[in-house]
């Protein structure tokens, strides 16, 4: 096991040096860590030099394709976001929501939270939630009086709870595939795990800031938004409607009637295309490159993550991490589960589900005799925290971006208490899974 430990330290060391000493972008640091760790691990194992080079190069490209679908979704979601921002649709929706719900701030906050969660619920992706509904709700939260960091925190937590809430939970699906469990009966446990937290977090973070909301004082700040709303009327909301209708149709209904899923990238692009004609004039030749430039760092991170996981697996570091966690005394397995999975999420939350989520699902669902569905649901919630962990921190980074927060770590600090509550709740459900067996339905 010692050679694996050396490779592990080489990979982590190179990543840290790249990120912090050389100030390379995170994606590039990941790639460097993967390549140098791969070379060290393979050569130390006795693999010939030529074979090592061939394998490292192949695995770089192979790993890079591990997240190709997510990368396409992010690119297209950013284009949609840019279009609705430039068309004035975001301004108009903010003005409308505040006007209708300003008398009921708690209800307004809960409503905003559910709206943020919705795209995550039907795509299983926190990125989709933050970049679509999160970006739409960001100006609303800011106008209501939340500071940028708090607004970003609400959106980030909404994103990760949305990706776990039913009907589609990709993290649970990844673990299901790993242990041959059908994705059946998850609706109840996932609702139980996510909805109380969603209400708690949004009120905890947002209510102190807006409980004394004075709409009359707010009105002057909404002048621009009101004007856009009045100028374009209902048609400015059409891109949102198209997005929601297409998502519901293709994610919930299509498969049942034998229609092929268009996929999130195309759904975002269609909605963006509609947005070109429903508000202020937009030049796609400027808007699209601007959107892609914004998304590039995150896309690069995901490519780097793919290379990192692939070479980590090939060199035995993945197995070393898993076995090291399990070598802890049985009494500490819960702690290992609640810490190692989110920490691994710093590389990738879906990677954490595959690498650590699956073994822990075996442990709690089979070996310790828990309720498999409840255990998997709880582990998926723990894994979702990975989307807040730097450097990848997809939910956190994008939430910072849509709320104009320059340092993502401020959002992470603000979210620490909600994250601890989430982990305690998920851990409790995990160890008491049999007691929650009643919730298995749907």
């Amino acid at each position: 096991m010692t050679p694996y430990m050396i490779t592990f330290f080489v990979m982590v060391g190179v990543f840290m040096i790249g990120c912090f000493a050389l100030k390379w972008p995170v994606g590039v640091s990941m790639m460097a860590a993967a390549v140098i760790g791969g070379l060290e691990g393979m050569l130390a194992h006795g693999t010939s030099f030529s074979q090592t080079i061939t394998d490292v190069v192949r695995m770089m490209v192979e790993g890079e394709f591990g997240y190709i679908d997510t990368i396409l979704t992010i690119a297209c979601a950013m284009i949609f976001m840019k279009v609705i921002e430039d068309s004035g649709a975001l301004d108009a929706l903010s003005s409308l929501l505040i006007e209708k719900f300003h008398k009921l701030p708690a209800v307004l906050l809960i409503l905003i939270m559910f709206i943020i969660m919705f795209p995550g619920m039907i795509t299983g992706s926190s990125t989709a939630a933050v970049l679509s509904a999160g970006s739409i709700m960001a100006p609303v939260l800011l106008l209501l009086g939340l500071d940028n960091v708090t607004a970003g925190s609400v959106i980030a937590m909404g994103g990760i709870l949305g990706m776990i809430a039913p009907p589609v939970n990709t993290a649970a699906l990844v673990i299901c595939a790993g242990i041959d469990v059908p994705y059946v009966g998850f609706t109840g446990p996932l609702l139980l795990l996510t909805m109380p937290l969603a209400i708690l977090f949004v009120l905890m973070l947002g209510l102190p800031k807006i409980k004394n909301l004075d709409y009359e004082k707010l009105k002057p700040a909404l002048e621009k938004q009101d004007a856009t709303r009045k100028e374009y009327g209902f048609k400015i909301y059409v891109p949102f409607l198209v997005l929601v209708v297409l998502m519901i149709f293709f994610k919930v209904i299509a498969a049942k009637i034998g229609v092929t899923d268009l996929g999130m990238p195309v759904i975002f692009l269609i909605s963006a295309a509609v947005g070109l004609f429903t508000g202020r004039k937009i030049n796609p030749l400027k808007a699209v490159p601007a959107a892609i430039r914004t998304a590039t760092p995150v896309m690069a991170i995901l490519m780097g993550v793919g290379m990192f996981i692939e070479l980590m697996t090939a060199t035995g570091v993945r197995g070393f991490i898993v076995v090291t966690c399990l070598q802890m005394p049985q009494a500490l397995w819960l702690l290992a589960c609640c810490i190692s999975i989110p920490l691994f999420g710093a590389v990738s939350s879906f990677g954490a589900c595959s690498v650590l989520g699956v073994p822990f699902a075996y442990i709690y669902g089979t070996y310790l005799g828990g309720n498999v569905v409840v255990c998997l649901a709880a582990i998926s919630l723990i894994a979702a925290v990975g989307d807040m962990m730097p450097p990848t921190a997809l939910a956190g980074l994008f939430a910072a971006q849509v709320t104009g927060v320059k340092k993502y770590t401020k959002i992470l600090v603000k979210c620490i208490i909600p994250i601890i509550i989430l982990l305690v709740w998920a851990g409790f459900v995990l160890v008491s899974s049999k007691k929650f067996a009643w919730s298995v339905f749907g």
Partner: protein, 401 residues
Amino acid sequence: MKKKGLISTCIILAVALTLAIITGISFSKKRNFVEDIVIGSNVTSQFKLDEYNEKLKGTVGDVDVYVLKGEEEGGSILILGGTHANEPAGHMAAIVMLEQFQVSKGTVYIIPNICQSGLTHNDPLEGTPQYLHFTTKNGDVRTFHFGSRASNPIDQWPDPDTYLHTSGDWTSSKIKEGVNTTQTLSGSEVRNQNRCYPGIQDGTVTERVSYAVTNMINQLKIDLIVDLHESSPEYAVNNAIVAHEDALSLAADVKLELDSVDLSIRVEPSPAKLRGLTHRELGDYTDAYALLCEVGNPSQGRFRGYTDEALAITGEDPCYQAAYKINGGTLLYVDYSSGNFPIALRVARHVATVAQMVLSMNFEVDDPAREVIIDNFPDIDTIGEFYEEMVEADDLGLWLN
């Protein structure tokens, strides 16, 4: 600055292009690599799977079906290998049987690469080798694929967010009215051959292959099908036969016989609610005994250490050795006390199990007209001797032509 930026951009693009060319050649070579299956006189004929689904014509799924027909008429069995191409013992066991079985009565159909698409690539993020090599008795080195659990995205992409498995146009009198035969699975499972049965005639390439297999079994009235797999040592269903309820007594007989020659194997009933698998759907939608075999494979487990061809062949792994020491070895579902689990042993288990399945089927059916006789394996003692010899030799190449 602009000139400097342009130069660095050009350098980065040139490096990216070079890497793309190198890997492109590697991926293309794997995609087009044809395994050298040696056909002996025991193979009486072969045909393409498109005979049972014309929609497969011209696709990667239109694989060869090898026929080993005895001189005497009798029953028939179908052996599927390579369903999951990252489980090499399943693939290799089918090839060994194809090259070694001498059938004197009845017919043995063998498809060693039922998911050919899965053999043509590797799973991203898994860091697996591309090929396995074995040296035969004659000193020839033969090369075989180590592939992916799922079909190649080049053949069907993108995956949906979730895969809704359905039974297509198939109906079964065995399934009670009101029983749900649809099921939601992870999106990537849409490329898993063993989640797509009974198959859809004009569906994805994976579904078309499954449809052809189901149709072939029904058309040829095949008596028994066995699907050969491997599983992670930490997976509960291991060193086991998974049997449809109609095949449970046959599987129990196989277990009893194999236990008598020190080949310990478990019997697991096919879960009625886990749809899309061979042991479930082929049992429900055909009249064949539907069985699936699992054997522990450290090279696909999540505890594994350094992953290369040697691991796939020897099964020797320090991480699994460490895992076996946790809680008295109870974390693993295979006996890993020897610190390895070689492919020769894994293939030997599969071959011996299938040979015994044939004997048990003859006993269960109790009808000479439906008997299958493999001359190499007339009884359990011969099976036991073969198993012992193959495990002791620990060299799969000796059983390849």
